[in-house]
Symmetry: C2
Subunit: 123 residues, 2 copies
């Protein structure tokens, strides 16, 4: 993960429209959605939606697959997880207790936590 990739990912999620798109596609999972359906669901003009979908695809936050005359978009959750990992690299300089303390204040619902750790069965 390089800095440019990370800033591009965050830039992608810094607009209300694009954040809505990503969350919608995360919800849809592997099914994804076609461009027009996304635009209609979020009530955004097609040209504007196309602009944002293109930006997100270039940031690799979305993948796109042609499906006849439609373009089907899907969320790239893996890239997002990599970006989060980059963000917290060398957290607390290897001081685990500090890390736990810093996180203690989180109002985070537990729902996502098991998801994030699904592929880390090892210690």
């Amino acid at each position: 993960m390089d800095k440019l990739t990370a800033t591009t990912v965050f830039e992608s999620l810094s607009s209300g429209v694009r954040l809505d798109v990503f969350r919608l596609l995360v919800k849809k999972g592997l099914d994804g959605m076609v461009a027009g359906e996304i635009a209609t669901t979020l009530d955004v003009p097609p040209t504007n939606m196309s602009f944002h979908l293109k930006a997100m695809t270039q940031a690799r936050l979305l993948s796109v697959e042609q499906e006849g005359r439609y373009q089907r978009y899907r969320a790239n959750i893996a890239l997002m997880l990599d970006t989060i990992a980059y963000l917290t690299e060398e957290c607390c300089s290897g001081n685990p207790q500090q890390c736990i303390d810093m996180r203690a204040a989180s109002a985070c619902s537990p729902s996502v936590l098991p998801l994030i750790s699904t592929n880390s069965t090892k210690t």
Copy 2:
């Protein structure tokens, strides 16, 4: 977590300077750093650094504490975790296998994963 909070957090991390600041402060943990030290370390003019630190503090991504004539900044990891949780709410509409599949492609180093799941000992 509301949308504005989330976009503001991501906007905070979408600039190279601010991303460097956050990663630096994550590394420093509870010790944090004072403003001038951050500016010197990252080789950014003080006025510009002050601009970015203010933005990040308003986004609540950093906390600040006055320490004599210094301002000590610390990373708010809890808010970042909450934001990630917001991002992946209703992931795959409760279809766990899909979630696992979507994450399978991640090149994420395992280092951060135990950290993120530290407070989720329960299933």
